[in-house]
């Protein structure tokens, strides 16, 4: 075949151009995946590299020390976070699951539509605004910052996540299963609690864990509710420490030692949150094949 003649044939040139465009397109999409995953690697890499050395057993259990004193850790913040997230889960869990059951059982209905929409919209409300809400509702009347207010803020953030995820997994429970229960003469609510919820349990568990790990990383809504505390304070009517608050306060502080501790605390938080996320994900994946 004559190469020069081929060069001049417009049909062949167009064909080559199209094929080239397609290859460029493929390369660009692959490259974009690389560009998107690079920050993940960079962030996790930095946190591990800068935080690992300072994460010792002592760091995990001891409380904050004043600047200048060696040692000190985030024991108080871990306990505070556990308290805040745990109590928020205790509030938002039942409410969220109940709302999810309501949504799953009520398809075409104005109220259900409004509830579903408000859950979706609530997911999009900036968490700092939820903090302002909790401040107005619990900090202003009590006249001081408190773990209670932090709990409220986190619970508000968790509720829509749990409700929508529960709705989704309950929808996937085969109808025959609940009909089998009803056919035995069981009441609706017994069937719901004894048959439907257990059948959907891995999914609901995944929703709870996912929402809790999201809440564990929340900082903004705690800044003027739980506020943070240098002590191991577990009285919910008093200010309570939290790991993300420690990270923020230490990071923007002028002390090198605190900044080092911020990275270490970030590593701890990262591990907790990502582990929660992975557990939640694997629960969902395990349910999927059925």
């Amino acid at each position: 075949m004559n190469g020069r003649a081929e060069e001049r044939d417009p049909a062949i040139r167009r064909f080559r151009r199209r094929r080239l465009a397609d290859r460029v397109f493929l390369v660009l999409t692959v490259a974009s995946v690389g560009v998107v995953l690079a920050p993940l690697v960079a962030v996790v890499g930095s946190v591990v590299a800068r935080g690992a050395a300072a994460v010792t057993p002592e760091f995990l259990v001891s409380v904050s020390r004043p600047v200048g004193e060696p040692g000190g850790g985030i024991g108080h913040a871990l306990a505070g976070s556990a308290l805040l997230v745990g109590s928020a889960l205790a509030v938002a869990g039942p409410f969220g699951i109940a709302a999810g059951l309501f949504l799953a059982g009520t398809r075409r209905n104005r109220i259900a539509w409004a509830v579903r929409a408000s859950a979706d919209v609530l997911t999009g409300v900036p968490s700092i605004v939820v903090g302002v809400f909790a401040y107005a509702v619990l900090v202003v009347p009590l006249r001081h910052f408190s773990g209670l207010a932090g709990t409220l803020a986190l619970a508000v953030l968790m509720w829509p996540l749990i409700a929508r995820a529960t709705e989704e997994v309950v929808r996937m429970v085969p109808r025959e299963l609940s009909e089998a229960g009803l056919a035995l003469g069981a009441r609706n609510w017994r069937v719901a609690l004894r048959v439907v919820v257990p059948a959907a349990f891995p999914g609901i568990g995944a929703a709870l864990i996912g929402a809790a790990s999201r809440a564990a990383g929340e900082t903004a809504p705690l800044m003027f509710t739980a506020f943070g505390s240098p002590f191991l304070a577990l009285d919910p009517t008093e200010p309570v420490a939290a790991v993300p608050l420690v990270i923020f306060n230490y990071a923007v502080s002028p002390y090198d030692d605190w900044r080092r501790q911020a990275w270490a605390a970030a590593l701890v938080l990262c591990v907790l949150v990502l582990a929660g996320n992975l557990v939640s994900r694997s629960l969902i994946a395990r349910r999927a094949p059925r």
Binding site: M1, D9, I12, F15, R18, R19
Partner: protein, 273 residues
């Protein structure tokens, strides 16, 4: 006449069957020992089949026997399915399909699907021109292309005043003819049709059968059908597929009157199972 090669759709080095001097019954397509898989499952196994130029070949067989799969191998669409694999050869005008870029193959071998699938974001006109628009080609006279394709698809009279309406606003039968026009607009050498009438009523079906017979002298048609009367009405050749294997192929008249195989006879007489 506008032809694909002049519109710059396919490289000129490829011989275009229609323009080449051909013996009365040259084979347009040769399928040789073709096996097609989805994952590890073979959907068709060792199919060898010749498809003569400018005739209508019908592929019949029970549901799931691999008719669509075979058809989709002929324009290399099968390989676009995730997990799909093929072995064996398919020759188009004597050249291995694999030697060509699939986008060129699909230009030369058009396809009409079971369910009408006009592009919803395009008008009737743009749907007919989709083969050009998608590939960034500007036909020399788009209006002529549109009219000719719609006339060949027996749709021109119904839509000539509605060319700017969305393609999806037409009735089901019209949509399917629009899809045929879309496939014909780029002047393919072969037209694959996968049960093109299964979603249509009898009147719409009759129109499509008629137009298939009309385009057949210019285009090689391979048509999958579930409907044996349809195969008998429109095709010159019929191939019977069963469980992924080719049982029998021959002149339609012979297949329907004196099939060589017991299986074929049982299938066409409805004593199957």
């Amino acid at each position: 006449m506008t032809s694909a090669i002049h519109e710059g759709l396919v490289p000129g080095s490829i011989p275009v069957g229609r323009d080449a001097p051909a013996p009365a019954r040259r084979n347009k397509i040769e399928v040789v020992e073709l096996t097609a898989r989805y994952g590890n499952r073979e959907a068709i196994t060792g199919v060898t089949l010749s498809i003569p130029a400018r005739t209508v070949t019908a592929i019949i067989g029970p549901s799931g026997c691999g008719k669509s799969t075979l058809l989709r191998c002929l324009n290399r669409l099968h390989e676009a399915t995730p997990g799909a694999g093929v072995s064996g050869r398919i020759l188009l005008d004597g050249r291995d399909l694999r030697a060509e870029d699939p986008i060129v193959v699909r230009r030369r071998v058009g396809m009409v699907f079971q369910r009408p699938n006009p592009f919803p974001t395009m008008s009737v006109r743009d749907n007919v021109l989709a083969g050009f628009r998608l590939t960034g080609v500007r036909p020399r006279s788009p209006e002529e292309v549109v009219e000719r394709a719609l006339r060949r698809a027996a749709l021109w009279n119904e839509v000539k005043d509605a060319l700017d309406r969305p393609g999806t606003s037409l009735s089901g039968g019209q949509q399917q003819r629009l899809c045929i026009a879309r496939a014909l607009a780029v002047e393919p050498e072969v037209l694959l049709m996968d049960e093109p009438c299964s979603a249509l009523d009898p009147v719409a079906t009759a129109r499509i059968e008629e137009l298939v017979r009309e385009v057949a002298p210019e285009v090689t048609v391979v048509m999958v059908t579930h409907n044996m009367q349809q195969a008998a009405r429109v095709s010159e050749r019929t191939a019977f597929l069963y469980l992924g294997r080719l049982v029998e192929v021959g002149d339609t008249a012979t297949i329907f009157t004196r099939p060589a195989e017991r299986l074929t006879e049982e299938y066409i007489t409805g004593r199957f199972g």
